[in-house]
């Protein structure tokens, strides 16, 4: 799934199957927020094929590690969103049952 030019770990294209804008756009955001990333972008080669290509170019670290960290960040953000949301719903239910 990964294509790097020979010997250069800094630049790579990752080809994810069974994914679309949902994940790729969110990952592009987290990647862009990482100071080690020089460039990143994604493309969907053909609309009827479930595949995205994510291009990552870094300032020195291996692209694969940077992408992994981006996933990790996104996952942690999701966990935080989930717990915050659950608390908000619980608060709302408590508030409305009291009335």
């Amino acid at each position: 799934m990964e294509h790097t030019s020979f010997g250069d770990q800094r630049n790579a294209t990752f080809s994810l199957t069974e994914e679309d804008h949902t994940l790729a756009n969110a990952l592009r955001f987290t990647l862009n927020q990482d100071p080690r990333v020089m460039f990143c972008g994604y493309s969907i080669p053909h609309p009827s094929e479930a595949r995205v290509n994510i291009r990552v170019q870094t300032t020195g670290d291996p692209a694969r590690e940077v992408l992994k960290d981006a996933c990790q960040d996104l996952m942690q953000m999701c966990q935080h969103v989930r717990s915050t949301f659950d608390n908000a719903v619980a608060d709302f239910k408590k508030g409305s049952s009291r009335e």
């Binding site: 949902t22 756009n25 969110a26 990952l27 955001f29 927020q33 992408l67 719903v89």
Partner: protein, 387 residues
């Protein structure tokens, strides 16, 4: 800005008194804050009379590096600033505010809700008899779109080689006939009766062996209503949907098999009627609008965003009372340039008013948490692929 300027001014004076100036105290050394005009561009969409501008979000971590402002993602910063506030919650619908998140992620949640959260929907219809005016394939399609109130998390996907069993299939039967001399009747979706023991239709067997056990179209090993999840709440469908109408003498007899699927295969599996978000509108009066003009402004807005307040000296002044109601119709900035100058219509880029309308399989708040979990699973899959 101005306060920090004066701070550095005084500290500079002190330093000069001592005879040296630290480079960090010079007024043009970057602070951790963006100048106000850039902050506005970064956080607001400006909805001008002709078109909205600044619609993009600034994602690149080094976007403001030359000003010494770090635009990178710090998780602790995100955690401290992210906020959720529920404004409406019923069994079928909810609205909540999500503040401090990038649209890329908010949109991922929305897309997952629409297309990747599984539900149960009728996929196969075995028609024993249909003399109604509605044709078989249309009837089957209509049945497919009826929401089924069953928790999809209790079921498995039915893959090609699987046999339909109590783990992956819900069977309904529908048998309605209209009397020969009676009035016409409407067949509603609540005529679909759940068969917890599976299919009742017999498969035609080739050899006529009378001793062979008759096979049906499903192979249930046990009844679904003996399972604890269903014994107290039987599977039902959304009632009150007209499936077909029958004239005198017409009849429909069929069996419908529901399986698990996701919305990107077919919209009938989408768990939401729809789900959407809008950014929080912000209406700002750039100058005081008084007297006659205030009245005009209040009249202009069709949703009543503006109110008029009476000042102590007897004049009337317009104020923004309900910015949240603004639909951005831009009626208030239409009559010439002076109105455009008076009022700024903006949207807050990281404040989303998120609405979820469930079709009934799961309550909306559960749908959202499930959607977030799916995004987490996707990340996990990529991580494991990479290691």
């Amino acid at each position: 800005m101005s306060s920090s300027d004066s701070d550095s001014d005084t500290s500079m004076k002190e330093a000069q008194d001592k005879g040296f100036v630290s480079a960090l105290d010079l007024p043009d050394v970057p602070s951790q804050k963006l100048p106000p005009h850039l902050e506005l561009r970064k956080t607001r969409v400006l909805c001008n009379a002709d078109a909205p501008v600044n619609t993009d979000t600034i994602q690149y971590s080094g976007a403001y590096a030359s000003m010494g402002v770090d635009n990178s993602l710090r998780l602790d910063h995100f955690s401290n600033n992210f906020r959720v506030e529920v404004t409406r919650l019923t069994e079928e619908e909810m609205e909540f505010d999500m503040v401090g998140i990038n649209p890329a992620i908010a949109n991922a949640f929305r897309r997952i809700l629409l297309a990747e959260l599984p539900t149960m929907a009728i996929e196969k219809v075995l028609i024993a008899n249909n003399t109604s005016v509605i044709r078989d394939e249309i009837l089957a399609h209509r049945l497919g779109l009826i929401p089924i109130k069953a928790d999809p998390r209790l079921f498995d996907y039915l893959s090609e080689n699987d046999k339909p069993s109590e783990k992956n299939t819900i069977v309904f039967k529908l048998h309605v006939a209209c009397e020969r001399r009676g009035p016409r009747i409407a067949v509603k979706s609540d005529e679909l009766k759940w068969l917890p023991n599976g299919s009742e239709l017999h498969k035609a067997s080739e050899g006529s062996n009378p001793n062979a056990k008759v096979e049906t179209y499903t192979s249930f090993t046990r009844s679904q209503d003996s399972l604890p999840e269903f014994s107290s709440n039987p599977v039902t469908v959304y009632p009150d949907i007209i499936v077909s109408k029958l004239g005198p003498g017409q009849e429909i007899e069929l069996e419908a098999h529901a399986v698990k699927g996701v919305g990107k295969t077919h919209a009938k599996w989408s768990p939401v009627a729809t789900s959407w978000y809008r950014m929080l509108p912000e209406v700002v009066l750039n100058e005081e609008i008084k007297g006659k003009k205030a009245e005009i402004l209040k009249q202009k807005c069709p949703v009543g965003v503006f109110d008029i307040e009476d000042l102590a000296d007897g004049t009337k002044r317009a104020k923004v009372a309900r910015p949240r109601a603004c639909t951005l119709c831009r009626e208030c900035v239409r009559d010439g340039e002076e109105w455009e100058k008076r009022i700024s219509l903006r949207r807050v880029k990281d404040h989303f008013i998120f609405t979820i309308e469930s079709t009934g399989a799961l309550p909306p708040e559960v749908l959202f948490t499930e959607a977030v979990k799916i995004l987490e699973d996707k990340c996990e899959r990529v991580i494991s692929d990479l290691s």
